[in-house]
């Protein structure tokens, strides 16, 4: 799948900052992920206004990781 070339470049805006993502992910998938994180950070900021940008991003990452690990674990169970 990854041929090591023809990387896709996507520019996304998260929490008012631009990020250039270069990889094999299709642009619309990267945009979807960016929207997901941006929404999580804004939601966290609303309930915890004193958090810094780094703290918001880390907590958003933690939320998403928990979801990801739970889904992976559920998949592994299905395969038993």
């Amino acid at each position: 799948m990854d041929q090591g070339s023809d990387k896709i470049k996507t520019v996304v805006t998260i929490y008012n900052q631009q990020y250039t993502v270069v990889g094999n992910e299709r642009s619309e998938h990267v945009q979807e992920a960016a929207t997901f994180i941006n929404d999580k950070m804004k939601e966290l900021k609303r309930s915890n206004p004193s958090l810094t940008g780094t703290q918001l991003a880390v907590l958003a990452a933690l939320n998403i990781s928990n979801d990801y690990i739970a889904l992976k674990r559920a998949n592994e169970k299905d395969e038993d």
Copy 2:
């Protein structure tokens, strides 16, 4: 599963900062997610030393979101 009480409190350290996570996730799962993010941030820092903490955390979140969305999409395909 969520009874709205008996929330689990877990303290994790990510990128030299402590975070207290309160929720329904078991502590070892939260710790696993925290290690995952910490490793991603350190890995990103090695290849991009000029990035700030917020940028590292956002990019780590983006990486994890991409993996999560890809896994969800694969699951949905299986159900067709």
